[in-house]
């Protein structure tokens, strides 16, 4: 049983599914010989051949459009966009075609594909390498948005994403690609795409998060436990369609909610979570919902990025604010 990092788990899931489903194809920029700039696809070309694992010309709209074309004709493309900051040229193909091919043909053609992209801050990269715009894709009917935040979840969620009959945008928190390891049995077992993960049961407050922020959240929650604040921690993971039930059930017990993500707060997905609580969970709320996120500013370059994303102290303060009001 392998002790893997998140990015290694992604690789293991791709390898499993390619071995078990002939129709799965992996392509993108530098995913072949080079094995991906983060090594997510390393070894796949050797294993499955250059026909099924190949490098494309440098054009993201093309990568997405090619995927749509292949998906409608019986393949399961799993393209990679090298960084989320470069996914925007592909957005038109995702919203205008991938997301609606099934609907606009009333099921005649479908678009099973998984667009993978690393996202978020934290690797001292140049401009445009720190984007967290999952909210764009979560506002697209017909698209699933999945964000793993541990090796085990990366493996299980990616398997289910590739097996899903509809398009999935699979966003990988590159800041924690190698942050920690887990035993990830290579058993081909997927995880549900409609269930949030309660990673820590608690009674005082529900802390809802996803992506790399699970890391700071986890540390914050640990320190808060020492102070006697018992947080329930939820990794939303399948952020769209959103698992409202788990959110509402948890907050119905704790009465309090704090939301933590890297993306800019305004228009971010934390707003959707808060809105669900404001309309369907209002009577359980004993305190204002607190959102902690990236500020409403362009993600800064390396020297300030850790001042931009929610840090442990900011998360703790948010929980205190929520507990005290």
């Amino acid at each position: 049983m392998a002790n893997l990092t998140l990015v290694e788990a992604v690789n293991q899931a791709l390898a499993w599914e390619m071995a078990h489903d002939e129709s799965v194809v992996v392509f993108g920029e530098d995913v072949g010989v080079n094995g991906g700039v983060f090594r997510a696809t390393v070894g796949l070309q050797e294993k499955f051949g250059i026909e099924r694992v190949f490098d494309t010309p440098l054009a993201e709209a093309m990568i997405a459009g090619l995927s749509v074309g292949m998906a409608t004709q019986g393949f399961k493309p799993v393209p990679e966009v090298q960084f989320m900051g470069f996914i925007y040229p592909a957005l038109d193909q995702i919203i205008s075609h991938a997301s609606r091919m099934r609907n606009r043909t009333r099921g005649r053609l479908t678009c099973p594909m998984v667009l993978r992209a690393p996202f978020g801050t934290g690797i001292r990269a140049p401009e445009h390498h720190s984007e967290s715009t999952e909210a764009f894709f979560a506002h697209m009917p017909g698209v699933r948005v999945v964000i793993p935040s541990s090796p085990v979840r990366a493996y299980g969620l990616l398997l289910s994403a590739v097996r899903d009959p509809d398009p999935v945008v699979f966003l990988e928190p590159k800041r924690i690609y190698r942050a920690f390891r887990q035993e990830v049995p290579d058993n081909g077992e997927g995880l549900p795409l409609d269930k949030a993960f309660v990673t820590r049961p608690g009674t005082d407050v529900t802390v809802i998060t996803w992506g790399a922020s699970v890391l700071e959240t986890w540390n914050a929650v640990g320190e808060l436990a020492d102070e006697g604040i018992d947080c329930e921690v939820m990794d939303l993971a399948t952020v769209s369609p959103m698992d409202k039930e788990t959110i509402l059930e948890s907050v119905s017990r704790t009465g309090r909610a704090v939301i933590v993500h890297e993306a800019a707060i305004s228009g971010g997905l934390g707003g959707e979570v808060a809105a669900v609580l404001a309309s369907e969970g209002l009577y359980s709320l004993e305190a204002p919902v607190v959102r902690v996120g990236g500020y409403d500013a362009v993600p800064p370059l390396a020297r300030m990025e850790y001042g931009y994303i929610p840090g442990i102290q900011r998360i703790k303060d948010a929980v205190h604010e929520c507990m005290e009001s």
């Binding site: 093309m62 997405a64 205008s96």
Partner: protein
């Protein structure tokens, strides 16, 4: 300075605007049945198109794009395709998709605002009409890659217009098709206008065919109002693709004889004389002359054919008008294969409200 690369673009025409042969004709042109079949579909396209405009004027369909003037380009191309090929059409290709088996009532449904129309008959694997300009070129490239990986002896064909050639998606599709040696044909029907923009405003390139040079694939220009030139070019390009020869760009020179759509008024931006002149070069004229000269086609036959086609179209119009209105539930049922709980709940809400027609 050493020359490191040289290129040329050719133009092909078989029939001049009076239907006179300018050079030896390809074999299919001697096949009376085949020519009659294509001629019939050109007329059907025209008759259907006329009826569509009239249905829009009377409020029975929504905004609709006319294929008036495109009859040769659409039928000649479709006739060169095989059922197992994959077509990625733009929104204006009525003749081509009808040839491939789509029912006219289904096209009317599409333009009438009913998604069920795109769940159409004929080539079930063909792409639906594509509205976002040039994006279908990438789908054709992807379909071609799928065909290639499966080892099928088939190709994909993307249809687009002159304006589409300015979009990055068009170029990216061509470049990928060249780089990956994909079995795909990019067919540009240059009807001289993108809504109000004349093709001269789209690009400084003297031909659209030469855009193929940028991606290392063959490109050529044909008279898009000449059914024989169109079919001939389409057969060569599709056969090249099916046999591993890779992608081709064909520019078919034509003219949009109608407004851009029923929502457009072309008199705002182009002179009537220009349209009249172009009308004299219309595809059906020269095909009629050709059919007369080669196959003794008579005015009686012409009148009979058109009457027959009008009746055919009318049947389809009736079928369209008789189709029960879609249910609001249907807008929820094809978002995902497995409907999310929250969406199901929304469907229940929607059920409660009658859907008003447009006021």
């Amino acid at each position: 300075m050493p020359v490191v690369a040289q290129f040329e673009i050719t133009y092909t025409q078989f029939l001049d605007e009076h239907g006179k042969a300018q050079q030896e004709l390809p074999d299919f042109a001697a096949d009376a049945d085949e020519m009659a079949r294509m001629y019939r579909f050109m007329h059907l396209t025209r008759v259907f198109d006329r009826r569509c405009i009239n249905l829009q004027r009377t409020g029975q369909v929504g905004t609709i794009a006319s294929s008036n003037g495109h009859e040769a380009a659409q039928i000649g191309l479709a006739a060169a395709m095989r059922p197992e090929d994959v077509l990625a059409p733009s929104y204006r290709e009525h003749g081509a998709v009808i040839w491939r088996g789509v029912r006219m009532s289904q096209l009317l449904a599409v333009w009438g605002g009913d998604e069920r129309g795109h769940n159409w008959d004929g080539a079930r694997h063909d792409f639906p009409y594509c509205v976002p300009i040039a994006t279908q070129c990438l789908h054709a490239a992807g379909a071609a890659l799928a065909l290639k990986m499966r080892g099928d002896e088939a190709c994909a064909v993307a249809l687009c217009g002159d304006g589409a050639t300015s979009e990055g998606a068009f170029y990216e599709a061509l470049n990928a098709a060249g780089a990956m040696n994909l079995p795909v044909v990019f067919w540009v029907t240059n009807n001289r206008y993108a809504i109000s923009m004349p093709v001269e405003g789209q690009t400084a390139a003297s031909t659209l065919a030469q855009k193929a040079i940028a991606v290392g694939i063959p490109g050529e220009q044909v008279d898009g109002n000449d059914l024989i030139a169109v079919r001939n070019a389409a057969e060569i390009a599709t056969q090249r693709a099916r046999s591993g020869g890779g992608a081709t760009l064909v520019e078919a020179l034509s003219y949009r004889l109608a407004d851009h759509t029923t929502a457009d008024d072309a008199t705002r931006y182009r002179p009537d004389e220009e349209v009249e002149q172009a009308g004299r070069r219309a595809p059906l004229h020269r095909m009629k002359r050709f059919m007369e000269e080669r196959f003794g086609w008579s005015d009686e036959q012409e009148t009979a054919l058109i009457e027959k086609l009008e009746a055919e179209v009318e049947k389809e119009v009736e079928a369209y008008l008789a189709t029960p209105r879609p249910k609001i539930e249907e807008i929820f049922e094809h978002q995902f294969a497995n409907m999310p709980a929250a969406l199901g709940a929304q469907r229940e809400i929607a059920r409660k409200y009658p859907v008003p027609d447009h006021g």
